[in-house]
């Protein structure tokens, strides 16, 4: 028993030695990061980062419409962008196709549009992620007493400026799955009760992500889930679903903007429609025609679907 206890004591002693508080590393090797991936940001206190990443179109465009910084450190970090010391990026990665590409904003700009090559990516958008953030484009020094920076930086390192090396991440956003517009707006569900070639639509705001559940017969669902092509049935189903979604969207306050600001999806859909036709009327107006808008988002089938 005695030997067991002493072994335990030794083990605890070893563990304590291992976890003993270590001195801070030298200032040159540390960089204050505004990391929005985790709760509790020690380096920049109450400063927050909210990137707005648009949705991929069928052509593979990704639009980063804004990189919003808020809180006490926002001005300092925005100042680095304005001084061309840092820039906004979106790292796009797909572990399935071993593809990585970083979309970059122009120096001094907060918005940008980049394009990924669909040939290099899994068609469904599955496992394709965007990682937004700000990186240093040259070596520079950040004063330890910069506005918004946690006072601990000044306490630990005195007035010595923080050396930032080229390539260092200064702001990091959450990983965001990137999906084509349709995949984000519509979730297709198999409904065994539905006869073939019928569609049902239900609005859902589950998980804080507003979208429509489109119910279909399992056989029709297979056609929709296969890669977009020229199958007339698939085209008809997608056309029908888009028309129904847009008709519903036209009346919903969160889409039309009557109840405060429009959400990201509504903006993305309207951007897409305006890209195809600049004259396309806005959501919520009497002139908005969901059938016409659906044809902008998905072409009419070339052959009439089999009616049997």
């Amino acid at each position: 028993m005695g030997s067991k206890r002493s072994r335990r004591r030794k083990r605890l002693k070893r563990r304590n030695r291992k976890h003993r508080a270590r001195p801070l590393p030298p200032a040159a090797s540390r960089v204050p990061v505004l990391d929005a991936r985790y709760d509790g940001n020690l380096d920049w206190g109450a400063t927050s980062y909210h990137p707005k990443i648009g949705l991929i179109t069928d052509e593979g465009d990704i639009k980063v419409s804004s990189n919003e910084l808020a809180g006490p450190g926002a001005a300092t970090l925005q100042g680095l962008i304005d001084d061309y010391k840092t820039m906004w990026v979106l790292a796009v990665r797909s572990s399935l196709t071993l593809h990585a590409k970083t979309l970059k904003a122009k120096l001094g700009r907060n918005q940008f549009v980049g394009r990924v090559r669909w040939e290099d990516l899994p068609r469904s958008g599955h496992k394709l992620y965007g990682h937004p953030g700000m990186i240093a484009v040259k070596d520079f020094e950040l004063p330890a007493d910069s506005e918004g920076l946690h006072p601990a930086w000044g306490d630990a390192y005195g007035t010595e400026p923080i050396k930032i090396q080229r390539g260092a991440w200064l702001v990091r956003g959450r990983y965001q799955p990137l999906q084509p517009l349709g995949a984000t707006l519509m979730t297709f569900i198999a409904d065994p009760q539905l006869p073939r070639k019928r569609i049902k639509l239900r609005y859902s705001s589950g998980g804080g992500h507003p979208h429509w559940n489109v119910s279909l017969n399992a056989e029709d669902l297979k056609a929709v889930k296969s890669a977009p092509g020229t199958d007339p049935l698939q085209a008809a189903v997608l056309m029908g679903a888009w028309t129904a979604v847009l008709a519903a969207a036209n009346t919903l306050p969160e889409f039309t903007g009557r109840n405060g600001q429009r959400d990201d999806i509504a903006d993305a859909v309207m951007d897409e429609l305006k890209d195809k036709d600049t004259q396309c009327p806005d959501f919520g107006t009497d002139d908005f025609d969901p059938v016409y808008a659906a044809t902008l988002l998905h072409d009419l089938p070339e052959h009439a679907p089999d009616s049997t």
Binding site: V33, R93, S95, T97, A100, T102, W118, L121, G167, A168
Partner: protein, 286 residues
Amino acid sequence: MKPIADKETTRRASEKFTAWQKSLVPVKQNQTRTPATIKKQQNLTSAADSSAECLAKTLRTALCIENDELSPPPISKGTASEMLNRPWEWEKRVHTELASVERKHAHQPQWWYLCHIGWLENGVFDDPPAATFNGRVPAGLLSKPSDGFTQTESETLDSAVRNILRRLGGLLHVRHQPRVALDPPIPAAWWRRTIAEKISAVDELAQEGWDADRCHRVLRSSSLWGQIIDRIAKSYETLLDTRAIAAICYMTDNGTDPKQACRAVAVRCAAYHPEWTGWEILTRKP
């Protein structure tokens, strides 16, 4: 590139694929196998032991594409030894012959299965193909009643089936999708050479005279390729950047253990973006 099969064939094969593999091999190798599973395993191994035509027919039946036309990209005949040992010259030749293959297809095990069925029918592999796919078992096991298998016999048969499935295009439900670039010899050759060509364009390597051949040789050394793919499969996606892989190759070539090199570069890429970071920071010895 000409599609390997029509859309309907590809869809049908994809639908059956995972269920068929799950019915043949359980996720864990030490899991108990029922006589029905053993019977299925016997059918596959005896088909591989019999002839290329027979194996292709078995695979077609399993994927419900009995009469569908397959037109895989042409590839010249290879030996069982090349498929087992994967010499560097063979990998280079395979990549050259499959230059038209696109990434959107190359990451799908199902797509490579359709290719292998076509290649089996076109006589690309040695006949019978059991040795080519490392799926040989003692003859007695193929004719033994499926309910009379001992634990050791059952494991021998199971290993052979796993080898065949891995080498035909991947064992999706056990090894997961990114390992399609690691397990089957032909897809692995394609991926390894593709990545080697990409990293040879990195300025720092090009300045030191590294070409695609040298990058390819380094990627083949020790367990480096396996380490990279395994880490990417485990969500170290920062390692996907070309400069990150180039840095790992450079460190390994300078004597760093592949595992340590992968870990060191992954840690650095968490703090620095590899595209803008100095080469000396990326490749510093851990």
